[in-house]
């Protein structure tokens, strides 16, 4: 994929005095929804701020679809950033806030206002648009910021904890909005702490811990790369005890747990491909297998395997 | 039914007596303040002038050259009210600078971090809070103003004898009253400004600006309206008039002593009203 279609970090480090922000980050992010996952202080926001030019790297270079972040005039034609800062310019109404950003794009006033209304419509905030932002609830403030960042139809949308403070209904609408943006070929970079949501929305994830990139790529691909942790697989079948005894004959199966309803079992294996071949054989031996599903190729498990206790620390 | 493990017991040790509880605030403030080398250095530098004055007092009292020549000691070498007024002016100016350095850190950070509800959720009243914050400055400024002033008076009294002390006791009163009123005024202005704005940078500017702009305004009121009463908003003139009056020295500030006292009282009242409005256990929940 060419540079003009990806976001590239080359050996990027950022130090805040003696404190490490991020260190030696090398990334190539393709279009689609990419989630940045990591505990507090892992460097997610620093990475986003560097990508958008709000913070400059101490070392290394960044290119966003071929544009350097220190060229705001070019960068913010194609980029929108919804930050985590919950503050607004004083005295603005919702519509003024979004329109202001579009005026800065150089749009004529009428066109800016029309586009602002369109963006506000997308985040379902039309009724409150003429009220002062200072009087908004946390969720509304989050949505108006989102509206501002998508108003100029950016090709790269960077969103720092965008689902914070949103109620479940709005969350699903917002996630659908991200998907819509990604489907039209945009980069959607999201940071989130809510792992099951990341799981639902992400095409790829970047796991960060203590300023380092721990893993990156599609979730399943990342899981496959982790060889020191046995894969967990849930099997629903009619003879779980028999299946368990058969499985234990093989060295790569390290643990089998029969489900309390005695209709399934959880298997831990160090060799997933061998295991799947083995299942075919067992099915031919007369065990009826209803479903097979991986139990640990989600972000939650990746987080636990790769970051684990560090997250808590 | 929930079963809770009974592991928590409330504190049962000794408590700071309510009367001295306000001193908890300076204790912690000093811990933080004295971490700054610049501040400690400045505080030490503030004591150089009093040291020089002690040397001067000793020299003047032990000059034998004039006696040996049979002529009286020249007037400018006398230790009198004017000498102590110069001392008070110099140390008073240093106290002002020290206030501008420390003052903004008193209440503004508590406001910026919504810390007031935390203070007032304890057995700690608003008055105690204000007194505690004022005492941070009061104690520190005392060290560089009236305390060395009294020491100077003591040195001079020990050198010049009992008669001098009896004849000049008003100087002691002047040092005490003059510097304590100055400290009180500086502390009140400082905490009021610090409470009025939550950014310490702006609070610092206000503490500095109120003196400069007050003096400028006083000047234009006097010159446009051809009056002297404009000086009542010039804090440095107010204090200088009060000090000079204590030492029985005529001034050209255009103010009479009682007018200066009215100005002083007015500034204190305004500061107290500002504190009354701002020091409240409220929190802005966003």
């Amino acid at each position: 994929m060419s540079d003009s279609a990806t976001i590239v970090f080359e050996d990027v480090s950022r130090f805040y005095g003696e404190v490490l922000g991020v260190n030696r980050v090398n990334l190539t992010i393709p279009p689609g929804i990419t989630s940045l996952v990591g505990p507090n202080g892992s460097g997610k926001t620093t990475l986003m701020n560097m990508m958008t030019g709000l913070v400059r790297p101490s070392r290394g270079t960044i290119s966003v679809r071929g544009i350097a972040p220190d060229d705001p005039q070019a960068l913010f034609r194609i980029m929108g950033y919804c930050t985590q800062f919950d503050s607004f310019p004083r005295g603005y109404t919702g519509i003024q806030f979004v329109t202001a950003a579009l005026l800065m794009q150089g749009l004529p006033a009428a066109e800016a206002e029309a586009k602002a209304w369109k963006a506000i419509e997308k985040v379902n905030l039309v009724e409150a648009a003429k009220r002062k932002v200072a009087g908004y609830s946390k969720g509304m403030r989050q949505r108006i910021r989102l509206a501002q960042s998508i108003a100029h139809d950016p090709q790269v949308l960077v969103l720092d904890e965008p689902l914070n403070g949103l109620d479940p209904l709005v969350r699903s609408e917002t996630i659908a909005l991200f998907r819509e943006q990604a489907d039209r070929g945009a980069h959607v970079i999201v940071s989130s702490h809510v792992l099951h949501e990341v799981d639902m929305i992400s095409d790829q994830v970047i796991l960060l811990a203590n300023g380092y990139v721990v893993a990156e790529g599609e979730i399943r691909g990342v899981r496959a790369e982790i060889s020191d942790r046995p894969h967990q697989i849930v099997i629903r079948c009619d003879q779980p005890s028999r299946m368990a005894s058969k499985l234990f004959e093989h060295d790569h199966v390290v643990e089998v747990r029969i489900h309390p309803d005695r209709q399934g079992l959880l298997v831990k294996t160090t060799d997933a491909s061998h295991f799947h071949k083995l299942l075919n054989k067992l099915a031919l031996d007369g065990i009826y297998i209803d479903t097979i599903a991986p139990a640990d190729d989600d972000v939650n498990s990746l987080y636990e395997y790769l970051i684990g206790d560090e997250g808590g620390n | 039914m929930a079963v809770y493990k009974r592991s928590y017991t409330s504190y049962s040790g000794a408590l700071t007596p309510p009367r001295t509880r306000f001193l908890v605030l300076p204790r912690y403030s000093y811990e933080r303040l004295f971490k700054s080398r610049f501040l400690v250095g400045f505080l030490v530098a503030c004591l150089f002038f009093p040291l020089g004055c002690i040397g001067y007092i000793y020299l003047v009292n032990n000059l034998t050259i004039f006696q040996s020549m049979g002529i009286p000691t020249p007037g400018f070498l006398k230790i009198d009210g004017k000498f102590f007024l110069v001392f008070m002016n110099f140390q008073g100016a240093l106290a002002y600078v020290l206030t501008a350095l420390i003052g903004p850190n008193l209440i503004a950070p508590d406001l910026a971090n919504n810390a007031l509800p935390t203070y007032f959720s304890r057995p700690f009243s608003r008055t105690e809070y204000v007194i505690g914050k004022i005492s941070v400055l009061f104690i520190l400024l005392s060290i560089i103003t009236w305390v060395p002033g009294m020491l100077l008076f003591g040195v001079q009294a020990s050198q010049a004898g009992w008669d001098w002390s009896v004849a000049n006791w008003y100087i002691l009163r002047g040092i005490l009253l003059g510097h304590i009123t100055w400290i009180l005024l500086l502390s009140l202005i400082s905490v009021a400004m610090s409470a009025w704005v939550k950014w310490k940078v702006v609070a610092g500017a206000l503490i500095l600006g109120i003196f400069g702009i007050g003096a400028g305004l006083a000047q234009i009121i006097n010159s446009i309206l051809r009056t002297d009463y404009g000086s009542m908003i010039d804090i440095s003139r107010i204090m200088y008039t009060i000090w000079s009056d204590q030492f029985g020295i005529e001034t050209s500030t255009g103010l009479e002593a009682f007018e200066a006292w009215i100005g002083f009282a007015a500034v204190c009242i305004v500061c107290l009203l500002m504190l009354e409005r701002k020091i409240r256990p409220k929190e802005i929940v966003r």
Binding site: Y16, N49, T52, G53, L54, V55, R56, D70, P72, Q73, A74, L75, F76, R77, G80, Y81, T83, F85, S87, F88, P89, R90, G91, A100, A101, L103, M104, Q105, G106, Q148 | W199, V201, V202, G204, A205, L208, G209, G212, I213, A215, G216, L217, Q219, I220, I221, S223, I224, L225, R226, E256, A257, F258, E259
Partner: protein, 355 residues
Amino acid sequence: MDTVLWRRQLLAIVQLEWKKTLFSKRGIWVYVLAFLPALLFGINAYRVKSIRAEQERMSVSAPNASAVSNKIVAGMSADVAAEALRDAKIPYSRFTRGRRLEVIRYNDGANAFDLMFREGALVDKRKRNQALLSDDIRAYAGMFQYFYLRLAIFFGCVGIFMNLFRGEMLDQSLHYYLLAPVRREVLMVGKYLSGLVATILIFGTSTALQLYLMLSAHSNKEVSDYLAGEGWGHIAAYLGVTALACVGYGSIFLAAGIIMKNPMVAAASILFWEGINWFLPAMLKKFSVIFYLQSLCPVVAPLNSDIPEPLKLLVTTAAPISAPIAILGLFTVSIAVLAFASIYVRKLEINYGAD
């Protein structure tokens, strides 16, 4: 160079910013500072009018009042002075200020006096407002140069221009500008222009109002004579100097707000530098904004009476420079300061936690 886009963006920034600056609650103190002199000249106008009316009344009711007044000299007791005034049917008020000072206030038809008595003897015979336009013009010159330029516009510019970047940093709202497709230099110039619009509007209006109120105290003939002579030139010069002060101080404080985390240190240092300008050698004087502004002021202000006599000896004079050079000098200084600030604005980072 995309000049059309830059022009549009500049316009957008100015439109967004100037209202914010002009109508912010936080900025009320700037208005107070700016319009206080106008209020004082308003009060003065009222006083001058009442003094004039009193003088006219006196010329009818006590035609020999001036002669009596001339006989009141230093050392005279308060009772004797009061008796003399009473005998001449000159109305007076007698009051005390404190324990030691007694004042007799009267108007002899030509002048208004305050007689100051200490311990019963006349120590000072002070002329009060003479209701003369020439006096007011001098008072205005003093007020304009010592208060309006050095304090009101100075601190007003501190408040407004420092707020443009540092204030938004403290409010945590500057990032919205940095996330727009605007060159940082364009953003800086836009903010500077919006600050200029606001300050020139506030301080320019106040200057005009002050001059109007000052002149309104005097008779039509006096005013028209003054305007026919050098009056309009003075008015234009004062308005121009006001605008130039905003240009000069504005650029400095905008730069301080960008470059320094605690711009108050810069403000205090500049205030000190501008304050000691009188005592600086002629060469150093030129490295200040106030020097150029004072060179452009149409009336020489009397030296501040607050300066102690020994210090007055240290006051140096630099030959005032010609208006075009002063204006050019100020613009050059401002542009240089802004150019310097642009280096920093390009590197500006958002790190709200550190502020």
